[in-house]
């Protein structure tokens, strides 16, 4: 059981910025509305963040471009993405990704 001070700081910060938008409208009892463009922009944030993290992980994990041939993550993404699109099932997708990566490691090393 370890508790890293840096991780604790991050969790505390995440907790604060998550709690405030959840709590404030209920405490202030206000039915305020956000500008339409802001609501539209917020709706695109999760898609954009997930795609950004994935691109970094697959293409520039160490801050440099990773070659195509030895990029196991990129190859493992092909069956993972296919299963995600076909089943829309979180568990099936994750298990496919794990199996694909294990298989690639066993084959390529």
């Amino acid at each position: 059981m370890t508790l890293d001070p840096q991780v604790l700081l991050v969790i505390g910060g995440m907790a604060l910025v998550t709690a405030l938008p959840r709590i404030l409208p209920l405490v202030l009892l206000s039915r305020f509305t956000l500008p339409r463009w802001l609501m539209r922009w917020l709706a695109y944030i999760p898609v954009a963040v997930l795609a950004s993290l994935l691109a970094r992980e697959l293409v520039i994990p160490e801050g440099r471009l990773l070659g195509l041939a030895n990029n196991l993550g990129l190859w493992a993404t092909v069956p993972t993405l296919a299963v995600a699109l076909l089943t829309r099932n979180l568990m099936a997708t994750v298990l496919t990704g794990i199996a694909a990566m294990a298989l690639l490691r066993a084959l390529v090393g």
């Binding site: 995440m14 910025v17 539209r40 709706a43 999760p46 954009a48 963040v49 992980e57 979180l90 994750v94």
Partner: protein, 233 residues
């Protein structure tokens, strides 16, 4: 003298059943992924207790594993979770008779899923705080216990790399991303969201190569989401 739970609380616990069914496997997956990503079981428990937000916890664990700066992780979490503002505001009329301190406690456990159940149940009528507490506490208990169980399970796996488990988090991002694209029938919406995802990917790589530091993810996401607003007009 024995304490008997108010009827509203029991009804709220029952109403949480569909949320619990969804949270058990997802919370377990979070625990396993966060553990293999380097978080301790205690840190996993704290995150599920204090943050309690599905996608943001996966994203946070991934960014912690990648060694991102605290500021980048917290601001990304803020943007991803800001949508709760709309749900909280939508429930506010039902909370008029409830004390602010109680409202704050109930709002703390507001998620996409508990909002959906509560909004369907309330239909704008005044909320019973006991019912809300039953729904909220049951849902978060399921999430917390499942993620701790997943963390303990993840700890027992000897060689996560050989088993391909280090790819579980990217695979989860693929799955969440595909779900975020929305239903097949909404072709126009999917088209714009797909373009936003591609733009975010390209911008992340470009920013990552050009700008020092590790703020490229949030910068690219902010810009790509803005492009989405532009494209949908």
């Amino acid at each position: 003298m024995t304490w008997e739970a108010p009827a509203g609380f029991v009804a709220g616990v029952r109403a949480a059943a569909p949320v619990v069914l969804g949270y058990l496997p997802l919370g377990f997956a979070f625990g396993v992924l966060a553990r293999t990503g380097g978080l301790s079981v205690l840190e996993i428990a704290l995150m599920s207790l204090l943050v309690y937000a599905g996608s943001a916890q996966f994203i946070g664990a991934g960014m912690l594993a990648a060694g991102d700066p605290a500021g980048a992780i917290v601001s990304t979490t803020f943007l991803v979770n800001l949508r709760h503002l709309l749900m909280s505001a939508a429930l506010a009329p039902s909370f008029r008779g409830i004390r602010p301190a109680v409202g704050a406690l109930l709002g703390f456990e507001l998620t996409d899923e508990t909002f959906a159940v509560a909004a369907a149940h309330l239909q704008g009528r005044p909320a019973d705080p006991w019912w809300m507490a039953g729904l909220n506490l049951t849902s978060q208990a399921a999430w917390l216990l499942a993620s701790v169980a997943g963390g303990i399970f993840g700890q027992a796996i000897p060689d996560t790399r050989a088993l391909g488990l280090d790819f579980a988090l990217p695979a989860m991002f693929v799955a969440l991303l595909v779900l975020q694209l929305g239903p097949q029938e909404d072709r126009r919406g999917r088209g714009v969201r797909l373009r936003v995802a591609l733009a975010a990917g390209v911008l992340t790589v470009a920013a990552g190569l050009l700008i020092p530091g590790r703020w490229n993810v949030i910068l690219a996401a902010v810009a790509a989401a803005a492009l989405g607003v532009w494209w949908e007009r």
